[in-house]
Amino acid sequence: MTRFSALSLFTKAFGGHQNWPEQWPDAAPKPAYDAIIVGGGGHGLGAAYYLAKKYGITNVAVLEKGWIGGGNTGRNTTIIRSNYLYDESAHLYDHAVKLWDGLSQELNYNIMYSKRGVMMLAHNVHDVQSLQRHINANRLNGVDNEWLTPEQAKAYCPPLNISPDARHPVLGAALQRRGGTARHDSVAWGYARAAAALGVDIIQNCAVTGIRRGADGAVEGVETTRGYIGAKRVGVSAAGNTSVIMQMAGLDFPLESYPLQALVSEPIKPTFPCVVMSNTVHAYMSQSDKGELVIGAGTDQYVSYSQRGALHIVEHTLAAICEIFPIYRRMRMLRTWGGIVDVTPDRSPILGKTPVKGLYVNCGWGTGGFKATPGAGDLLAYTIAKDQPHDINAPFNLDRFRNGRLIDEAAAAAVAH
């Protein structure tokens, strides 16, 4: 791997950007590996990287049915935050936020993590009470979060309409200053490049079609569209397709897959300095470094694997955006798209072991998996390497749906999050 430095970028820029080497080789599958990760998104590539980097398992393959980062990693709205209500969630998501810090240096790849702050708006009395409860819970867990008055919110994000007679009046806001955005493609590419440099094979266009198990029920390998590949340890990080993969091992999962849509506007000059989320009216927005307003919409109401959603979902979100930020009313939208998100009954992820020996899972991140990318990768790697979950992900087990120890962020937020 060629190391990037200010000098190498400078030299290549003056050389007309000729002769950039490929970032990592497009590997063909070997007959067997020590561990296989199913799913070449940020989470899966992160898991492969940390397996090789922190846990010394370098004979690893990442199997991706399409292309690297072409699933939900390239389809999300790139928001990073950790202001979750419950202790377990705060620890899990803050583990990821801590890893985001310094990730560009660690990977020698600019992931453009920008701590521009995530501001969540309160539009009614319930929102005020709920957000203030979140702030208090977060601060007890060492996660930064603070209350802003409407005037302070307006000062932090000038396009905000705080007029008392607005359609969605702003009664205040919760601000997590460490929250922000990162460039999602770079996260996938950075992990892929760094993992490949440590010996990980990144195999694209390789869909898993079956899981082979021995007489004792333990995993022996996976059947793929590029032939059989042996591995005693298989970690599945396949987002919306997790149910399909788990059925190959005879496991029924508490998941449903829904389309989640996002859209971007035409690019404009910098006008929007932070991330604003309004859970009550479903408006989530930031501005990319290219100048596009990046807008997250809601999920469609039905189970689907189509990677597209209905226009009325987008219309609902834009109606709210136009009311909260009237200056954008005449903006034109450039593109909309959808990704398939796997949602659990309590809206918390499942990250740990499965009843099948040698089969591990990282799924159920629902509508908010991007922020957790480094943390989920690290914890999946730990779980695979040690054959037991880390203290941070131990509560996010599959057994909670049987013993009732849910981590009910769905009830805590009462909306998609």
Partner: protein, 90 residues
């Protein structure tokens, strides 16, 4: 937006008139206290989530207000059929 045929109104109407009510044909246990934790887990949380043919419930909430069942392909989102509640699984 998809168009959905309501078997009671016998009309194809736009999706915004309907509310999806999850997987169909999940029977509530008749003997709640006789169920194990695993039975409750299956009833409450485990879902088929198939890639392909899916049985689901819909409610014509802004129309006749009634629940009915549907078979839909989850890859194309195309409806195969809709039928009244209480009719056998298609």
């Amino acid at each position: 937006m998809i168009l959905i045929h309501c078997p009671y109104c016998d009309e194809k109407r736009p999706e915004i008139e309907f509310a999806n009510a999850g997987q169909a044909h999940i029977a509530r246990p008749l003997d709640p206290s006789g169920q194990s934790d695993a039975d409750w887990e299956t009833y409450l949380f485990i879902r088929a989530n198939p890639r392909g043919r899916h049985h689901e419930r819909w409610r014509h909430i802004h129309g006749c207000g009634r629940f009915f069942n549907a078979v839909r392909d989850t890859v194309t989102d195309k409806f195969e059929t809709t039928y009244k509640a209480g009719e056998p699984r298609r």
